[in-house]
Amino acid sequence: MSDIREVSVEELRHLVSDRAMSGETMLLNMGPQHPSTHGVLRLLLELDGEIVVNMIPDIGFLHTGIEKTIESKNYQQSEVLTDRQDYMNPSGNNLTYCLAIEKLAGLDVPERAQSIRVIIAELTRINSHLLWLGTSGMDLGALSMFLYCMRERELVLDIFELVSGQRMMTTYIRPGGVWRDIPEEFELAVRNFLKVMPRRIKEYEDLLKFNEIFLDRTKGIGVISGKDCLAYGLSGPVIRASGIAHDLRKKQPYMGYDKYDFDIPVHSEGDIYARYRVRVEEMTESCRIIEQALNRMPKGPVRSNNRKYVPPPRSEIGVSMEALIHHFKLWTEGFAPPKGHVYVATESPRGELGCYMESDGTALPYRVHMVTPSFVNLQALPLMSRGLYIADVVGIIGSVDIVLGDADR
C-alpha cells in the first residue's frame, strides 16, 4: 500500500497567524462530515476560545472530473453530466450549457421553447431557494421550516416529473429547444402551484420574521460590503444583499428575459438576514415571471428546425430518407459546431453560472469549463466569518447557499 502523506501545520504556515504556532489559538477541523456544511466541505478553523480568527476552506471532496469527462464524450452525451454539477439547479446548468452550444453553432430557438425554458428555469430557482430556506432555517434552529419547504418543493418536483419523467436530473432542456412539448396537464399544475405559492411564502415569513432567535442569529452577522463582493467576484443573492442591483436576467438578458416584467430585490445590509430577504422576495418574483410566461406562451414547434444539430421528430423518420440519415448521424456521431470559443453566463439561483466552451470543429468538445457560483462564493467565506463565533459560521455557510457538487465539479 502506498504511503499516506501527512499534512502538518507547517505547510499551512502562511494561512494561520503566529498565535496558532505557539498554541495560543486552536486549530479545529469542521467537516467534511458535518451536518451544517451542506455536503462535504471541510473548514479548518483557527479559534481563539469560541471566536473565529481565521478560516481555511478545503474543497474537492466531491471532485468528479466532469470537465475531463466531457472532453471524451460528444455534445449530447455531455449534457447529462451538467445536471450533476449543481444538483439543486439541474435545469439551469442544462440551460447554460445549451445556450453555449447554440451560440457556438448559431442555432435558433423557437419562441415556444423559450417560454417553456423560462418556466422551467424559474421553477428550478424556486426549488433551489425552497431547499435553501429549509436547510438553512434548520441550521439556525427553525426546525419546522424544513418540513414546510419540502412540502412545496414536492409540487415543483411533480411538475418536473410531468414534463420530463424525472424529478431532479431532468435534462429536459436540449440544444435547440426542449426535449418534447409540454403535456396538457402542465398548465393546470403550474397554475395550481402559482395559486398556493404566494400564500405559503407568507407562511414562511410569518414563521421567521417574528422569530427572536432567528433574528438574533441573522441580523448583523456575516456582513460583507459591496466593494468586497466585487473584488471577490461574487454574484447572485449574496451581492444583491450587499446593495448591488446586479442580475444577469436584467443586465444581459438571455432567453427573452427582457420581455418579462419583474423586479430585482436588493437589500443593503449585507448580512445573513438581508440574504434571506433577497431569496424570499426572489421566489415571489419568479412566480410573477412564470405567470407571464404561461399567459403569453405561443403555439408552435419546441425544437429548432436545423437538422444538423437537432434530431427530426419521430413521425418524419418513417417517411423521409433525409430525416432517417440525420437521426442516425446525430445519434452515432453527434454534431460538430464550427471552430471557436464562447463564454455564456446565466443567472443561477446562486449567482453567475458561466460556461466557457471551445470547439475544434469535431464532434467532441475541445474544452468545456463551467464557471460555478458556489466555487466563487465559497472563497469569501473567511471574509464574512472572521471575528465571529463558531455558531455564526454555521449560519453564514447556510446563507451563502453553497452546493458542493457545484464547487468541485
Binding site: 474537492g60 467576484g233 458561466g354 474544452r367 469549463h369
Partner: protein, 170 residues
C-alpha cells in the same frame, strides 16, 4: 462592440501591443504573458473592469509553442461589458505572474488552473492543489493526461492495480 470596449481595446493595442479578436459577439485580446500585470491593472483602474469572473486555461497539446492559453473573463459592472483576456504560454512547465493582488477572486481560480493544468502562478500567496488530493501526480486537464477505466482498489489488489494504472508523463 460598445464604445467603451472599443476605446479599451485601442488603448491596449497601442500600449501593450495586444492583438484583438472579435468572434460571435465576444471580444478577446491576446497579451503577452510579461504584460499581464500592467494590462490587468490598467483594465481595472482605468477602464472599470471591476470583477474577474473566471480564470481558466486551455491545453493545445501536442503543440509546444504555445501549448497553453490562460483565459481571463473580466466584467465591468458599470459599463455592463465583458472582455476576454488571453495569454499564450509555451512548454510543459509554463508560468505566469499571478493577478491575485489585482483581483482577489483570482486566488482560488488560479489554484484550480495550477491544480488541473500545472500552470505555475509566480507570486501566488497560496499555490496548493484545490480539487485534487495534495499527493496527486500529474495535472488531469492536460490533454496528455490519460483518461481510462480504473479498477476499484482494495488492500489485497492495491499494488497490482497500482502497477498497471496509466500514469501521467510528468
Amino acid at each position: 462592440m460598445s464604445e467603451h470596449l472599443d476605446q479599451t481595446v485601442q488603448s491596449l493595442q497601442k500600449r501593450f501591443d495586444a492583438q484583438f479578436e472579435e468572434s460571435l459577439g465576444e471580444t478577446t485580446i491576446f497579451v503577452s504573458p510579461e504584460f499581464i500585470i500592467p494590462v490587468m491593472t490598467s483594465l481595472r483602474d482605468e477602464f472599470g473592469f471591476n470583477a474577474c469572473m473566471d480564470v481558466t486555461a486551455v491545453d493545445y497539446y501536442p503543440e509546444e509553442s504555445p501549448r497553453f492559453h490562460v483565459v481571463y473573463q473580466l466584467y465591468s459592472m458599470d459599463n455592463n461589458v465583458r472582455l476576454q483576456v488571453r495569454t499564450k504560454l509555451n512548454g510543459n512547465a509554463p508560468s505566469i505572474d499571478t493577478v491575485e493582488k489585482i483581483y482577489p477572486s483570482a486566488n482560488w481560480k488560479e489554484r484550480e488552473v495550477y491544480d488541473l493544468f500545472g500552470v505555475n502562478f509566480v507570486g501566488h500567496s497560496d499555490l496548493r492543489r484545490i480539487e485534487m488530493p495534495e499527493d496527486w501526480t500529474g495535472h488531469p486537464l492536460r490533454k496528455d493526461y490519460p483518461l481510462g477505466y480504473e479498477e476499484v482498489q482494495f488492500t489485497f489488489n492495491f499494488d497490482d492495480i497500482m502497477q498497471n494504472k496509466p500514469q501521467p508523463k510528468d
